[in-house]
Structure formats: structure tokens, C-alpha cells
């Protein structure tokens, strides 16, 4: 980019994607990936707020050992609502739907995704699915847990299971179409010169994520169909009275739902690689290893689902195979963490808000990943399975990992999305509060789990109380950490200082266009001549 263009871009671009069209219709019928990304942002935040409310109710109930705030059924509906909304309507679409949609075509130097209309359809399917799930909650709720285990879901629960499953089913097709769109875009829409090994690592991680979205989600769709038909028809293949095996449901369910965990964490890892390099002004250490570890996670991640079933009466030999695979899938994650750490070496590190979130992520993800090893250990899992240890572990991965990187990415690309900077000091403070609150909420749950407190209990023996009190206290702090950005980010929309095309001095094509970008991203198709993260060498 020459100096004149640079100067032009700093001035407010008249034709940016936010201002080129006006009115509700221009948003609801948009095919612009950037606007669709924002549609996703608003919708997932809405579902996040609802799911967080459910979590708050649960934490309040668990302050005391007796079940005194909610009746048991309502508590069960709360954790089901929390799980379903968080997993399918917040975590899975969060980074792909918002940041992936917005940033991926920009990073590739493309004018849009390969199938913009399909992209809009994905959002509508997501919204329809979401409102079907909400409808199920409003008309009385569902009490099966997000896992829908048979035969409870098919025969014994008298709540609105079918409606809820239908909502998830529809949202699943939204995931499939998004993943498909991303894969084809990455294959076919790269700018000239942008070879595979020049791609930013965020693109690699989105590619791996999309593979899982595309290939695992259909199995979930079929599993939920089988479950719902069995519930409606009163006959089915999971019914033990007909010779059916409820454990088959678990195989099918976890074939999707374990890889789904990688749908949630892989995009976060991609964001991490972007931010670590930008704020240490360095090439990533071991680019190929980080890139291929994403693919390895996508491939190996499909071989480990049985570790959710070690005590389900599955064969012990199958358990041994699944356990081995679970250890192996942890290796690529470890590689990534080591590489991020090594990237800091001899860097020029600046602790801006995204970087603070990101360092928090590395810590939380490391703890979450290591405790995953506990659960992959067959003998240890027998004791820890279905206790709060599992809850703590996956919240470290999903909230500590995914949500923290989502916040990191949102702050990192916020100037690109809106053209404005947020107040830096407040951002840093919020990131620290989030880190502290998170640990206080979830670390005690590891101990609770080891002591033997089962999950999904609304009442518990009194000796567990102290850790539950700590956890609830932490949740209150965590809530502040989440609410702060909601205020200062909105404030920045009008009052933030103008960002210019590249406020962080980062590499990557998304920073080579104006902020906010024009409707078709680039005035001229960019040509790539260098590797990713080609920061100038640091002397001192």
C-alpha cells in the first residue's frame, strides 16, 4: 500500500459496509459477509445472555446444600437451557459465525464468501432454530440435559423434548452450511500469491473447524431425529423393551458432540496465533507445526468420543482404544501451547487488551487441557466421570478457552469491524477481572468433583458447601467481567477514537483495507508476496 492510499484510508471511507446502505431491509437481506457477521454477533449475545441467566439461577441455588430456591424440575430445566443455548446457540457459532464470517474473506483477500446467499440462509436457519429452542423453553422447558440421553428423553421426560431437538436440528444445518461455505471459500477464493503456507493460522483453524462442522453435524441431526421419532412413535431402536440399546444413542451422540468440543476450541486457537504474533511483533514459532496440529486435532478428534462412555457399560477394550486416542489428541494441543510460548521469546511484547485476554487464555487452556488428561486416564475417569471435575474441565476449555479468545478476537478486530478504538484501560481491567472471576468460579469445582459431588444435583451434602460458595462468588465477579465490555464497546461506537486501517501495526490482508472495510472489502484485489506474520526483524 503506498503512502497516498494509506492517507486516503485513514480518512473516513464514505463507502464502508456500514454506511453504503441503510434501513432494516438492507440488514435482513444482506449478502455481505461482514453484515452477516454482525447479525451473528447480536444473535449469539442474545442467547449468551439467556444462558448466562440460567447459569446464575443454578449458581444461586447451589449456594446452600438444600434445594431451596428452585424446585428440582426447574433446576433441571435451568441446566438444560444453559447447556443447549450455550453449546449450540453461543459457543459453536461464536467465533465461526461472527469473527470467521467477518474476517475470513478479508484475510483471504476475497470480495465475499463463495456462497453469500447460503451464508444468509445459515443465519436464518440459526435464528429459526434458536427461536424453536426458545419456544420450547417458554412453553414449559426441557429437563433432559443438553445430552438428551435415552431412554429418559424418549420415554420418561414429560417436557418439550421434541421441540427442543427440532431447534437444535435446524441450527445444525446452519452449522453445516457455514462450514461448507468456509471450506470452499478457503479452497477457491484465495488472493493471488496466497498459498496454503502463507495463510494466517486463523484460516487453518477455521478450515479444521469447518471440516468438523460439515462431517460431524449430520450425525447429530440423525441422532436427534431417531430420538424424536422414537419419542413420538413410542417405538424405536433405543428402547430396551424391544431389544434396543440406549448406549448406541451415546455412541451416535458423542460422535458429534466430542468433535463439537473442537469446533468450540479450534477457532480460539486460531485467534490466539493471530494475537500472539501481533503483540510480540514476531513470526509464529513453528508455523507448519501449528497449522498441521489444527488438522491433526480435526482428524484425531473424531476418534476419541468414547471417553465420555468409560462407565457406560461400553466394552473395556473399546474404552482402552478411546483412551489411547484421547491421549494422542492432547499432543497437538500441547504443541500449540509450546509454540505460542516460544513465540514470545525475543519478541517485543505489548500488553494491550487482546494480549491480556490471550495470556489468560493460554493459562486457562493449559489447565483445562491438563485436567482433560485426568479424564482420559481410564481408572481416574471411573471416579471423576459425571462429577464436578468434568464440569470444571470443560468450562476451562469452553469458557476459559473459547469465550476468552472470543473476547480477545472481538477486541483485536473491533477497530476493523467498527472503525473505532475502545478505551484501552477499561479493556485491560475487564480482561483481568474476567481471568480472576473465572478461576474463582471454576477452580473450586475441580476439588468438588474429586471429593465426589455429582453433576446435575440441585441439592448436595453439606460438606461440599464451602466450594460451592466460592464458586458462586466467583461467578458474580465473572459477570462483571462480561458486563464491562458490553458497556465500553457500545460507548466506543460513537465516542471511540478513529482507528485507521491498521491500529495494531499487524500483518494480514484484513489490515490492508480501510476500517470499516468497503462493501466488497478491497478496492483492488490484493496480491500476496510474503509469508504470514512477516514482521520486520527486531534488533533491540
Amino acid at each position: 500500500m503506498n503512502a497516498l492510499q494509506e492517507k486516503l484510508a485513514v480518512e473516513i471511507p464514505a463507502e464502508d459496509y456500514l454506511h453504503c446502505e441503510h434501513g432494516l431491509k438492507s440488514w435482513l437481506l444482506t449478502k455481505d459477509h461482514k453484515r452477516i457477521g454482525l447479525l451473528y454477533l447480536f444473535s449469539i449475545l442474545f442467547f449468551f445472555a439467556l444462558a448466562a441467566f440460567a447459569a446464575a439461577m443454578m449458581r444461586a441455588e447451589l449456594l446452600t446444600p438444600k434445594g431451596d430456591l428452585l424446585i428440582p424440575t426447574d433446576y433441571n430445566k435451568m441446566f438444560t437451557m444453559h447447556g443447549v443455548l450455550m453449546v449450540w446457540f453461543f459457543l459453536i457459532p461464536s467465533i465461526p459465525g461472527v469473527l470467521g464470517n467477518f474476517i475470513l474473506p478479508l484475510m483471504l483477500g476475497a470480495r465475499d464468501l463463495a456462497f453469500p446467499r447460503l451464508n444468509l440462509l445459515s443465519w436464518y436457519l440459526f435464528i429459526i432454530g434458536g427461536f424453536m429452542a426458545l419456544h420450547a423453553i417458554v412453553i414449559g422447558g426441557v429437563d433432559t440435559g443438553w445430552t438428551f440421553y435415552t431412554p429418559y428423553s424418549t420415554t420418561y421426560s414429560n417436557t418439550h423434548v421434541v421441540e427442543m431437538a427440532a431447534g437444535v436440528f435446524v441450527a445444525g444445518f446452519s452449522s453445516i452450511l457455514t462450514g461448507l461455505n468456509f471450506i470452499i471459500t478457503i479452497h477457491k477464493m484465495r488472493a493471488p500469491g496466497l498459498t496454503w503456507f502463507r495463510l494466517p493460522l486463523f484460516v487453518w483453524s477455521m478450515y479444521s473447524t469447518s471440516l468438523i462442522l460439515v462431517l460431524a453435524t449430520p450425525v447429530l441431526a440423525m441422532t436427534l431425529t431417531l430420538m424424536a421419532v422414537e419419542r413420538i412413535w413410542h417405538v424405536g431402536i433405543f428402547n430396551p423393551a424391544l431389544g434396543g440399546d440406549p448406549v448406541l444413542f451415546q455412541h451416535l451422540f458423542w460422535f458429534y458432540s466430542h468433535p463439537a468440543v473442537y469446533i468450540m476450541i479450534l477457532p480460539g486457537m486460531g485467534v490466539a496465533s493471530e494475537i500472539v504474533t501481533c503483540f510480540s511483533r514476531k513470526k509464529i514459532f513453528g508455523y507448519e507445526f501449528v497449522a498441521f496440529s489444527s488438522i491433526a486435532i480435526a482428524l484425531l478428534g473424531f476418534l476419541v468420543w468414547g471417553h465420555h462412555m468409560f462407565v457406560s457399560s461400553m466394552s473395556a477394550y473399546a474404552g482402552a482404544v478411546f483412551s489411547l486416542m484421547s491421549f494422542l489428541v492432547a499432543v497437538p494441543s500441547a504443541i500449540k501451547v509450546f509454540n505460542w510460548t516460544m513465540t514470545l521469546y525475543k519478541g517485543s511484547i505489548s500488553l494491550d487488551t487482546p494480549m491480556i485476554y490471550l495470556l489468560g487464555f493460554i493459562a486457562l487452556f493449559a489447565i483445562g487441557g491438563l485436567t482433560g488428561i485426568f479424564l482420559a486416564c481410564l481408572a481416574e475417569d471411573v471416579h471423576l466421570h459425571d462429577t464436578y471435575f468434568v464440569i470444571a474441565h470443560f468450562h476451562y476449555i469452553m469458557v476459559g478457552g473459547m469465550v476468552t479468545t472470543f473476547m480477545a478476537g472481538l477486541h483485536y478486530w473491533w477497530p476493523k469491524i467498527t472503525g473505532r478504538m475502545y478505551p484501552e484501560k477499561l479493556g485491560q481491567l475487564a480482561a483481568l477481572i474476567l481471568f480472576g472471576g473465572f478461576n474463582l468460579t471454576f477452580f473450586p469445582q475441580y476439588i468438588l468433583g474429586f471429593l465426589g459431588m455429582p453433576r446435575r444435583y440441585h441439592a448436595y451434602p453439606p460438606e461440599f458447601q464451602i466450594y460451592n460458595v466460592l464458586s458462586t462468588a466467583g461467578a458474580s465477579i465473572l459477570a462483571i467481567g462480561y458486563l464491562m465490555p458490553a458497556f465500553y464497546l457500545v460507548w466506543s461506537l460513537r465516542n471511540g477514537k478513529r482507528a485507521g486501517p491498521n491500529p495494531w501495526g499487524a500483518t494480514g490482508l484484513e489490515w490492508k483495507t480501510s476500517s470499516p472495510p468497503p462493501k466488497h472489502n478491497f478496492h483492488e484485489t490484493p496480491v500476496v508476496t510474503e509469508d504470514a506474520y512477516n514482521y520486520p526483524p527486531l534488533i533491540d
Binding site: 453469500p116 462431517l215 441422532t223 412413535w233 417405538v235 451416535l252 466488497h520
Partner: protein
């Protein structure tokens, strides 16, 4: 000059065509994983209850199933001939072949409907009035039979819809030897519908048929 069918995000018709075709193939990969759940259930219960499956498998309508297999295999040919014709620029002949494919598909659905009526008449619907309730787990076979064939029939219907749209576009003169992606895609999709039936046929109609 940009071709009228070239979308803004693409640079050339070739890029657009290749992207869309890959997208379709990837979509079909999700489709067979979708069916995969059912096939897995079928395999598991076939292994657990071989006798029940053999016994229950005798009661499906072999004649209807075989006619339908022949119809679908042939429709695969007619559809491919339709694609080959449009590529030569013979859009009228192409429309004829696609029309014939639609007729074969409708015949398939007709036979399937008659077969369903017969199955219902013979109480082969799992539930309290199930005819083979003395055979343990025979209900599982028929439950899978109904789900698999119904799901396949839905795909046949979707395929017919796809082909009707293609015919309508062809009638409006949208296709040329340079641009005829929708015709080709309808052909690919129809091939998938064929493949599913190729697997369903022996699994549902030919278990233990010797007399």
C-alpha cells in the same frame, strides 16, 4: 465482459463452477453421514439379532423394491444423458431426457406409495398392532425400514424439485455449452439418490429370501 450468471465474488465462470461443484460434493458428504447414522443402527442390530432381521426381512415387498431399483438405475442413465446433451448444446434433447428422469422418479414414488399401502395393510408398521410381534426385535428392523425408505423418498422428492427448476431454467434459455452448472448439479445430486437406494435394496429386501 462479465457473463450474466457470474456472481460478484468470483473472477471467472470456471472458478464459480468449480466452487459450486465442490460445495455440492461436500454437501453430499454430509448427506451420507446423515444416512450413516441409520446404516450404523442397522448394522448394530443386524449383528445383535440376525435371526430377527432374517425373519422380518422376508416380509418386505421384494417385487416393489426390485421394480424401484430398476427404475432408479435407469433414471441415473437418463439423467446422465441429459447432462451430456446440454454439454453438446442440444438443450431440447436434454430437456427430454430430464423430463424422462422426472417421470421415472415419479414412477418410483408411485410404486413406493403402493408398497407403503400394502405394508400398512399387512400391519408392518411398528407399534401395538405390529404383525410380527412374536419375533423379538423385528420391530427394530421395520422401524429402520420405514425411516430409511421414507428419508430416501424425501430425497427423491427433493431431486424431482431440483430437476423441475432445471427444466424451467432451460425453458427460459439460461443454459449454453459454456454455462449449464445447474443441470450438471442436478445430475450429481440424482446420482447420490441412486447410490442410497443401491445400498438400501439388498439390506431391506433381500435378507434370507431363499425358500
Amino acid at each position: 465482459m462479465r457473463h450474466a450468471a457470474l456472481k460478484v465474488q468470483f473472477d471467472s465462470l470456471e472458478q464459480q463452477h468449480e466452487a459450486s461443484r465442490l460445495g455440492l460434493w461436500l454437501f453430499l458428504a454430509t448427506e451420507y453421514l446423515f444416512f450413516g447414522g441409520l446404516f450404523l443402527a442397522y448394522t448394530v442390530y443386524h449383528l445383535l439379532y440376525p435371526q430377527a432381521f432374517a425373519e422380518a426381512g422376508k416380509h418386505t415387498n421384494l417385487l416393489c423394491g426390485s421394480i424401484n431399483a430398476a427404475l432408479l438405475l435407469t433414471s441415473g442413465l437418463t439423467m446422465s444423458l441429459g447432462v451430456a446433451a446440454i454439454r453438446r448444446g442440444a438443450s431440447d434433447i436434454s430437456a427430454l431426457w430430464i423430463g424422462l428422469t422426472i417421470l421415472l422418479a415419479l414412477a418410483f414414488l408411485g410404486v413406493k406409495g403402493a408398497e407403503y399401502a400394502d405394508d400398512i395393510h399387512k400391519h408392518l408398521v411398528p407399534g401395538s398392532a405390529f404383525a410380527l410381534s412374536q419375533v423379538p426385535s423385528a420391530q427394530i428392523f421395520f422401524y429402520l425400514y420405514w425411516l430409511m425408505t421414507a428419508l430416501h423418498a424425501l430425497h427423491v422428492i427433493a431431486g424431482v424439485g431440483f430437476m423441475l427448476i432445471v427444466l424451467w431454467l432451460a425453458k427460459r434459455g439460461k443454459f449454453s455449452p459454456q454455462y449449464h452448472s445447474p443441470v450438471e448439479f442436478a445430475g450429481i445430486y440424482w446420482g447420490f439418490v441412486d447410490v442410497i437406494w443401491i445400498f438400501l435394496y439388498p439390506l431391506l429386501y433381500l435378507l434370507d429370501r431363499h425358500t
